[in-house]
Structures are given as C-alpha cells and as structure tokens.
Symmetry: D2
Subunit: 296 residues, 4 copies
C-alpha cells in the first residue's frame, strides 16, 4: 500500500499539505502505523490501513509556470528528504498530486515513483494490480502504440496510466477510468488471476481532478473479498492542525482527496470517506460528481 493526496483549488504553498500538518503526507510515509493498531481509538475510522511504512520513494507533480507540470521524485524515503522539505516551502500551485510509495523489495527507481506525468496529465495510485506479472504483456499491448514508448518503468500503475490515456482520459475522464477498471478485470479473467485489483487512483490535468476507489469483486477464487484502500475527501475551507500546534485554513475552493486525513485528531465532518466503487470528478465551481462502478 501507499499513501497519496491530491489538491485542487486556489494556489497554496504545498508545505501546508506535505510537511507541516500533524499527520502530513511525509508523516504518513513513516507513521501511518498508529492508525492500524488494534484498539487505537481512531483505528476504526481507517479500514484497510495495515502497513506503517511507505518508504520506497516518493514524488510530487503540480501545475506550475505557464501551465507546465512540474515533477519531483526521489527513490529514498520521503521522511529523509531535505530536498522535499525545502522545495515544499517554495512551490505554490493550484493542483498538486503527491505520493509516498510502499513497494518493499520491488524495483526502486524514479521511473516507478508516482505521480507519473505525460502530455499535461499526472496520475497516481494506492493499491495494486494483483497478478500484474501475468497480465503485463496483455495490458501493455492495449496501450496506444504512439504512447507505448513513454512507458519507462515496470510498475502496474504506469501501465494503468497509459491505458487510461489510451481510453480517452483527456476527453472523457470518467469513462476512461471506468474502461480501465473493466480492462483490468477482463485481463484478470483472461489470465486466471485471483489476486484482486485494488485501487485508489487520481488523475489531473490542472482543470479537473478525477479519482477512482475500487477493488475487485470478480474472479476472486476462494480468496477474501478485498477492502478498497481508504480514501477521504475534504472540501471547502478545511482547517488542518499543524505539527507545531497551529491551524491552517485551506482556501474556500479547496478540493482535497487523500488516503488518510492529514491530521490525527480531526473533526469528523470535515474528512468524508469516499464511497467504495466510485469514480469522482472534481471541477472548479461545480459540485463533485460521483459515478458508481458496477460489478461486471
């Protein structure tokens, strides 16, 4: 499992999300464990959080100068990155994706660190495509041959990103995410994969933010029905408790989606769990639009 956050709203300096909150994304890179301890008071609010460490690299992508996407990724743990701490104070953006990775023993490379960026889009994922090694060839063959050469690493997520682009992420983001889920389930069936696909995914081009929370209900064999990774949404002028005891108020137009709330002792009403099997579309000046993902 990993942890991520996605922010869309008026420009803010990103340390307010990444490094300063009392359960910032950087804190979640090493301290997510408290939320999963049996008996810990808040544990019941955080289903599916069973791994404390997200130390296998990290990354951020953001809409910056002249609308270009800036990207910064490192293969070392976020909690150790002096660069991240310093840059987070300097970068101001209205659209940020940020990710801390848990892939212990996997391939550690910048090319495998989220968010992935291509042609004005950025993409990240918490979860996994079970049995990906059996399906990778099939899935990559479905990627538009024009896009294929841009696949750099070996992560399941990067292939998902290029599939989503192939399926029309730019023109119909909700439809593309739906088709991505369908295609993966088809590949699981085709390749007799029983390990589930689990996903909280986020994609943005700076204008819209689309997320998908889903996990396999199909082809699970005798395995348990998986719980989708947790996902929370905060909108409006959310206030966040900082590690130094102060509070920061986010802008009125804030749309913030994240694996875990960024504060440990939060007010329930501000962090809304995202429904399972949902694709959500966030746009400026509009209510979030939620679409259910049917079981095939």
């Amino acid at each position: 499992m990993c942890r991520w956050l996605a922010y869309h709203g008026s420009p803010i300096t990103i340390d307010k999300l990444l490094t300063k909150p009392n359960h910032s994304l950087v804190d979640q890179s090493i301290n997510a464990r408290h939320l999963s301890l049996p008996g810990f008071p808040m544990a019941k609010q955080f289903p599916g959080h069973d791994f404390p460490t997200n130390g296998d690299g990290f990354g951020i992508a953001f809409v910056g100068r002249e609308g270009n996407i800036g990207q910064f990724r490192e293969i070392t743990p976020a909690w150790d990155s002096h660069n991240l701490h310093s840059l987070a104070e300097q970068i101001e953006t209205g659209t940020l994706l940020a990710h801390v990775r848990a892939a212990p023993g996997g391939s550690i490379a910048e090319d495998n660190c989220h968010p992935f960026v291509h042609d004005g889009w950025m993409f990240q994922h918490n979860g996994g495509v079970g049995g990906f090694e059996k399906m990778a060839r099939d899935l990559r063959m479905d990627v538009d041959p024009e896009l294929y050469p841009f696949i750099m690493g070996n992560s399941d997520t990067e292939t998902c990103f290029y599939l989503a682009l192939t399926y029309g992420l730019a023109s119909d983001p909700v439809g593309a995410m739906m088709k991505l889920n369908d295609r993966i389930e088809q590949a699981r069936a085709d390749n007799n994969v029983t390990a589930p696909f689990t996903a909280c995914m986020a994609a943005s081009n700076g204008d819209i933010l689309v997320t998908m929370r889903v996990s396999s209900r199909e082809n699970l064999g005798s395995g348990p029905v998986p719980e989708s990774p947790s996902l929370y949404h905060a909108h409006g002028a959310a206030k966040i408790r900082m590690a130094d005891g102060t509070e920061e108020h986010l802008p009125e137009d804030t749309q913030l989606v994240c694996s875990e709330p960024l504060e440990l002792d939060f007010s329930d009403h501000e962090w809304v769990p995202v429904e399972d099997r949902t694709i959500s579309l966030f746009q400026d000046g509009k209510e979030p639009q939620h679409t259910s993902v049917p079981v095939n």
Copy 2:
C-alpha cells in the same frame, strides 16, 4: 533506534543471518514493529523496541580475503536492496558486523552508515548520544589528531568509534569501551546535557568481538531513567528458523550478538539477554568475559 548483529565463529555465508531467517536483519529493517505492539505475545520479551522502521541505510563489514575488511553500505532501505540479497549469498566470513539504520530526517549518507571501518577495526551502534550536537566539538577534540582526518560523517557513532580507537581499542578493548562511556558521561555533565546516552555497541578486528550495553544513569535531570536498547546473545550451535520453514544450524563455535533474535518463534534458552551495563568480550575458544560498567 537501529538494529544490528555481530557474528564471530567459523566462516559461514552471511545470508544465513542477514536475509534468510524468519526475522532476519533485513526483516528487522521493516518489520521490527510487531515486537513492540502492546499485547503482542512476545512483546514482553523485547523491552525498548518501540520503532518499527530501520530504513535510513544499512551496512555490513566483514573480515575477508587476506584478513582485509570488506565493507558494503547503501543509503536506501535494506529491505529494498537487491544488491544486499545477492551479495549475502556470495560472502563467506568468520566475522561479520551488520547494521540497519534508523535516523529518520537525519543526514542520509554512506559516511553515516554503520559499520564504520578503520585500520582493521569495525564498529557499530544501536542507540544514541543524546545532545550530541552540544558535545560534538568537545568529543571530537579528544580524538587523536592523527585519527581526526578519518572522521567522514556527522554521526555520533563515528565519533565514538574514533574515541574508542584513541582510548586503545586495539590494545585494551574493554578498557577503551569503559573510557568511551566515561568520556561521554563527562561531556554530558560538562555541557549540561540531560538527554541520555544509550548504547548497544559492537567492535571487532576479526580476532575479538567486544560489545557494550549501557545507558546513562547520570545527569538525567527530571527525565526518566532510560532503558538500554535490547541485546541478545546466542552461542554454540544455535539453530535458526528460516523464512522458508527450514532450520539452519550455525557452527559449534558461533558467537552471535544481536538487537533482536533472528527468529520470531524462538526457544527462549538459545537467545540470552545481555545484562545491562555490561561490556562483553568474545574470543575464540574462551568463555565470554563480562565486565560491569559502574555508575560514576
């Protein structure tokens, strides 16, 4: 906190210690947490284990070809190192020190990864010199000026190593460790440091292995009396349960000292807790020799 092990005995391939046991040092780099969960059955056997992640680099040092010490260190987590897994299958030695580091947010550099090596000696440490930043100048001034230029990093441990060498580690290892402890306590008093010095340290030249388990009883102000980091000793033909379900028997002359036993479901009698405030000397063909560290 960190985790380490030290092996002295007949030559073995080091994967039997580092990567294959069901709670190998690599496993301890990411999974030490289970041992500290309240209510976890074995937790009571592991006092002072309160941090699950030792992901801020790692290192090994070993006596190799022609008596030269080989050294391998990386700044990324041990659990991710394909190099470590491959090399551990290839390296055979009669004396190994190995260390996984926890220094989240500190300086991440090979120069700060244990074990440190100089002039035929290797050295590693679990714990910390509280208030080191206040005492670093004083302590480094005590290092033999001939040795001073070999200090490469900023870790407390490396300075401790060069102090121990200055105090005669090569000629009187027990005395040098004793003097090291005294000197640090003196520096704490001189600089009004109340944060404790805590240590499980190991040093070896391939002939002898010396360890020290100690923590401050002096100058603690109103702070709690610290618990020394855990330390265990296994000697003789210890068998260790491997992650694959098999068992490995270590050689008859094994002297194995480690922060945590290398197996999760061990037989109590084989892993002996090292007494607190003890300097232990392990030598071929001799019984371990334990010396108490008095409170000044």
Copy 3:
C-alpha cells in the same frame, strides 16, 4: 557508449581487472577520454571512442558460490563507489562480466544497469539500438511470454537479452546472437529506422562466454556507415600494468574481452582487436571460435 570487460578463466580476485590496472574499468568510467584526443599517440588504436565519461551507473555479475550468479549494481558513477572498491578486493570468480554505463540523460535505475542476469545467464552491451523507441513494442512482443515479466527496465539491452534467451542462448549461443542481430535489423526495416544498431555484446553462463561485435550495414538511409564499438581480446597469461607501477600476471587460461585494454601503455601483441561483424565463442580448453555475421 559504455565500457565493459568479460573475464573467463581460473578464479581471480576481481580488483585485478576492475580497480587496480592503470586503465582499469573504473578508470575507463571517467578517463576514457584520453584515448580519443586527436593526436594522442594511442588514439589511432581506439576507433570509435569519442566519449570520455561512463558515469551513469555500473554493474558486475559473476559466477560465485554454488554456481549462483552474484550481481552488484549502483546508479552512481563507478569512480565514486567505495563499495565497488571494497567488494572488488573480496570477490573471487572464474567468470566476470563488468560494465560502466554511459546513458547521459536517460533513465537512471539499477534495473537499467548492466550486466543483466536471468536464469543462470548474464548479459551486457556497449553500443545502442538506434530508434529503439520505435521498435521496442515489436521487439518485446517477440520475447517469450514466459520471459516477458522479467523485463524490469526500459533499456534496449535488456530487451536484447530476453530476445537472445528466447532465441536459444542457452542451447545455441552463436545462433541466438545471430538471430538477435537479424531480428533487430528486421525491426529497423519494418519501422523505417535509419539510426544504426551498434553492439559489442557479451553473454555468459559461467561455462561459455559469447561476444558479438557488429553494427548496422542495412537501412542506413543517407547516414554514415557506423563504426562498431571497439573490442579487444587478451588470452593466456596476460600481464597487466597496475596503477601502482607493478604488474599482475593473469592465469594461463585467461580469456579476457574488453572495450579498451586495461592498461594505457600496453604491448600491442597482447590485446588483439576483435574483428568487426564477428560472434566469438570462448570455452575452457578450446581455441576461441569466431563466426562472421553476414550483411542481410
């Protein structure tokens, strides 16, 4: 361009090849430039050497304990690696492949560092598959689907390795290399690639060592006919001048193939240029067997 060496013979410690010669592979990682200076006395002996720096990672693979292949790769320059210097003193092997990479601005990852290792074979390459991005999809589709999931990175060479395995490297190494060259030329034609394929490749399973020196003569458009990367062979009890002024004699049964001689002021007769368009097979107790690669 990169630099590599391949050794097959009686076991030796590998510092004699990697770090100690006066133009060791590590020296070639940063100092290959002297060989390409116009007017430099030896430059005429080193055609095709026009880039001084091979600093984009390095790797070694060797047959070790119980016949297993050991592998060690880092993404930082070889000239900076204290690990490589220390391990080279400790590793003894009868079959070594070693590589310093030049891919400035490319994807820097251990997964892209040579030598690649799979199922008892190791593989490395100096040169490049021109237009690889256009052909990658076609070429990877030719890889045995059972082998496909083991492709970890995005380098042209790794795909070549798995193609060679697919084409029977284990049973007919010369035929597999020939077919690899043919397949790449076919893909160049199919995809209208005029950038050449250039290669000095080496593969070994510890019993045999096979190398191929070749570059495109087909589909070059109006581009110049490329020169294949340089390749040299030294066999028998070659002596090599060390950086410290001494000489080391390699074993009588030495088969050493390398991009550049490992010494700067060598005796001509000991370093034999490998003929262009040649696949060479080196086996214990047999004369090297050379096969010409025809132009299609």
Copy 4:
C-alpha cells in the same frame, strides 16, 4: 575542479541559466572538456580548465518565497537529473547559486554538495583547500562553537563557509572573505602544507553577492604557482545563446558570475574574466566593487 554560477538581478526562471543555454551549467557538468582540448579554438580563453566531468553531485540554492532560501541537491550527476530539468522550469528567483561538483572518489553525499546554506546565507566553491586533511582540525576549531554543530559533511568548502560566517560574512562580507583566505594560508604554514589553496568562491544572502578568486602564492615549496580557477562576469542585459538556437536576453540589472561562460560561441565583450586575487561585491544599483587580495 567544479563549475558554478551565481545570478543576482530581477527574478527569472532558472532554466535560462541551468539547462537551456548551449553551454549551460548542466552541459558543463559533462561537456566542459571541449574547452580544455589542446588546439581547440576557444581553449586559450579558458585557462585552468583541465577536467571535463563534474559528475559528483550538484546543487542549487535560491532566495524564494518570503525571503527563505530554497535548496535542492542530489548526489547523482546533474546531466542525469530529470528533477533538475523539471524544477528549473518552475523556480523563479532573483538570486541563485548553482554548482556541479567534481570530487571523483571523494565522499559523495548531499551534505557535501554545494551550495551550503545557513542562516540566510548560501555559499559555493570551485577549487580546493590543498592538504585540507592536515588542517581540518585546526580550521574547524576556529569555527564559532555556536556554528560548529551545523557542519554536516567533510568537505573543505563547508568548513570555509562556517569560517566565513564566524569571521563576519553577514556584517562585512569582503572582510570576512579576506580573513578566510588569510586563515587558510596561516593553517597551510602552521601545518607545512605545500599543496595550494585555490578558490573561486561565491556567497550571497539575496541582497549582496560576494565572490573571491584567489590561489596560494605562499608556502608552495618547490611546487608550481597555481593558476586560480577561471571566473567570468556578465552584467547588464546579457544575451545568451540557447541550445535550441534561440537567444535569451537576461534582465538589465543582471549580475552573473560563472566558472565558464554559459555559451560556446559567445561575444568576448559580454563575458569579462574576473581578475585573479580579487574579492568582488555585487549589489543592486551599484557598480561592482573589487578588492585586491594581497600576498601575505
């Protein structure tokens, strides 16, 4: 040797200096060699350039949001850094220090990468303190004990920075640099060091930029009188040729100091060599103020 640049003027995006010019600082990290080839037409304009590769890490520091200094450093070569390329497009500043490091075989760590930053100041250096290992203890003892704990690495430059701060960099920058040079020369004499001190140094707090070009004339024994590393100054609306064939005009108030001009085919009058043995002070709206460094 290393390469660096320092910019002070109206805010610009830093890719115009770091990545886009036809001999940008990133290009100088790998391609400085052309300038030192014997017979190369421009070589005579670049005395003291004898090493093509500056691949041992890099760093930038800049005055950013709310006057805070942002810092970004990596231990891998600048030419390989996708992060640097992406961030350079996003960062806009009026004061930038940027550095590519050449320390082959030395200690590779972020802590040793320039620019160093402390308390509102940033500092970088091309050159070296010859015999530093003999003088490090003496020089570090001269550092204000309050500043001593902030020394993180083992580089000569970082110690120089803290000495300069100790000597009053903030209140009298020219005097502090002068005293730094004197102190190093004194240490060379005290420790019988004949290896020279060579330096092009730059320091800034965002308001002023101070540089020093100097090398030892004292205590050289029988060694040659060293040439100071090259240093160039461009002021006013300098235009720079970009790698893509375009030209960029820098702001009217530009003060740009760099090891090498940022373009290969420049107009002589725009890049003015800085006189040897000179401390230069650059301030908004004032003419640069140059002070000679006397030989003691």
